[in-house]
Amino acid sequence: MSRMRRRLIRTWALTVAAWLFVLAVSFPLIWMLASSFKSPTEITAVPPRLLPDALYLGNYEALFAGDFWRWFMNSIIVASGTVVIVIVLGTLGAYSLTRFSYPGQKATSTAILFTYLFPSVLMLVPLFLIIVELRIMNTYWALILADMTFAMPFSLWLLRSYFLSVPLQVEEAAMVDGASRFACFFQIVLPQVMPGIISTGIFAFILAWDDYLFASVFTTTAEMKTLPVGIARYANELNAEWGILMAASVSVTVPVLVLFAFLQRRLLPDLNAGAVKA
């Protein structure tokens, strides 16, 4: 009996400790959300209060009336463009690396891993020169090109492991039955790795969405800024309003959270389960 009691006390002590910690870690986010709904007077009130008196929407109205949607679209275009290019290339590459055998394959895989760990800032100067020479400074292409430097090795590495984790019995059977490699790829391999492709695409999208370094150097005008650059520049303005900044922070975070939530659900179902049973 006392043993059970001890266990009960232990569980509750752990519950309290864990949740106190979680609350402490989440506090900046709670504060961000609360501040975004505070009026300018409440924001600078001394002493500050955690929750606003009334839900003040003025920050969001001011934010959405400004350049927000322009920057939002820029971010969407750059991230989507990067993802499309990187996924097409990555799928081809991963298929080649995992379903064929030829010399230099292992070296290629190691090289991909190496570049995946490679720091973006070292590419900054040469990319700048190339972008100037290609005359694509301050265009979407400049940002897509730059984002490819980290998104491509990342996607290829991830896709390669997804391709490796798909069992090959079905493919083998189809090949024995005389299916062409073309048909095999589109009708058997692609449907099986589709969850992996979608997850990789989402990860790559989030990476590109988050880019600040390249976007801050390779865009020069206000209308080409992406969201991270737009927000960072606004934060440095002398008359920047914290309420609007917090509203902007919430608005940039929401799409990322939606994608992660989607990712979590997407990763669960195992499409192979049925196919391999036979």
Binding site: L14, S96, S120, L129, Q169, A232
Partner: protein, 317 residues
């Protein structure tokens, strides 16, 4: 960012080899087809990664005219200037402080929280999602929120600390030369410790229960169970995590650029920020490339050390 990814099953590995052999038997033509499929990827790699990288390395030996972008070979001139001055060494020292300081905090906090979240308690699933939340935030959001929290005029932290009497007047956490680096490390730790939690927690869940049961039967205390079972089982994931975090923190541009821009008075000027400032603040692209080259050399040493210490990560095929 640096999210982790899919796993490689042993069965998939062996299967790939088998299928490759199956196709290889159908003649060498398949190998050619396979290599051809890789061609666009190789081309893209050369165009956007290998090419620029090589160009960047070479650029360290050139002087670049600001407007015309004409280059002139200056031999080791850039390196002499960089290594002869104090700025590079200062930045290297700050980078090491930032990296090691952050790493220690992240690992201690990350392992501790992973152990905590691995216990049974109420609302565990929700607590786990919330604890990794900071890692999912866009970097610009994390830094903007912390600038607001630590704001000298209206920031909640200064208000709370003055209220409880810990400080007598509000502090400029990012503008005091003595405090800026510590503040930046704290923000960075808050943002990335969940990466450590995710990595360690994943491994903790895979330690066989029987090991603990056997130890408990033998009368081993909780401490000795931790030292003799948990820690050895975590060894390999700890090494990988330390390695990855070291590289990523060593090269972290965003956190510092967004919080302090390297200031005040170079107090947080790390190597990545120095590269940026030399190249795009002072328009000395050659000097920036030289610092990048030196960083690359340091990183390569680290890579060699890592591959020498462990089995290559890329050896999964």
């Amino acid at each position: 960012m640096d999210a982790g990814g899919g796993s490689t099953s042993v069965r998939g590995n062996r299967g790939a080899g088998r299928l490759a052999r199956f196709w290889a038997r159908r003649g060498n033509r398949t190998a050619v087809v396979g290599a051809l499929l890789l061609l666009p990827v190789v081309a893209a790699f050369i165009l956007v990664i290998a090419g620029p990288l090589a160009r960047g390395v070479i650029l360290g030996f050139y002087r670049v005219q600001q407007i015309t972008m004409n280059t002139r070979f200056v031999g080791l001139g850039n390196f002499e200037r960089v290594l002869g001055g104090t700025q590079f060494w200062n930045a290297l020292w700050i980078t090491l402080q930032y990296t090691v300081g952050g790493l220690v905090l992240q690992m201690v906090l990350g392992v501790g929280v992973a152990l905590l979240l691995n216990q049974h308690f109420h609302g565990r699933a929700l607590a786990r999602s919330l604890a990794i939340f900071p890692y999912l935030l866009p970097i610009v959001v994390a830094t903007t929120v912390w600038k607001w929290l630590l704001n000298p005029n209206y920031g909640i932290f200064n208000t709370m600390l003055t209220d409880v009497g810990l400080i007598s007047q509000p502090i400029g956490w990012f503008s005091e030369p003595d405090l800026a680096l510590g503040s930046v490390i704290l923000v960075s730790t808050w943002r990335v410790f969940p990466f450590v939690v995710i990595a360690i927690l994943g491994r903790l869940q895979n330690i066989p229960r029987q090991l603990y049961d056997a130890a408990a039967t033998d009368g081993a205390s909780a401490w000795s169970q931790f030292w003799d079972i948990t820690l050895p089982q975590l060894r390999s994931v700890l090494i990988i995590t330390v390695f990855l975090r070291f590289i990523w923190d060593f090269n972290d541009f965003n956190t510092i650029a967004l919080l302090t821009g390297g200031g005040p008075a170079e107090a947080t000027l790390t190597l990545p920020v120095l590269i940026y400032q030399l190249g795009f603040g002072q328009h000395q692209l050659g000097l920036a490339a030289a610092v990048a080259d030196l960083t690359l050399i340091l990183l390569s040493v680290l890579f060699v050390l890592y591959f020498w210490m462990t089995k290559p990560l890329g050896d999964q095929r």
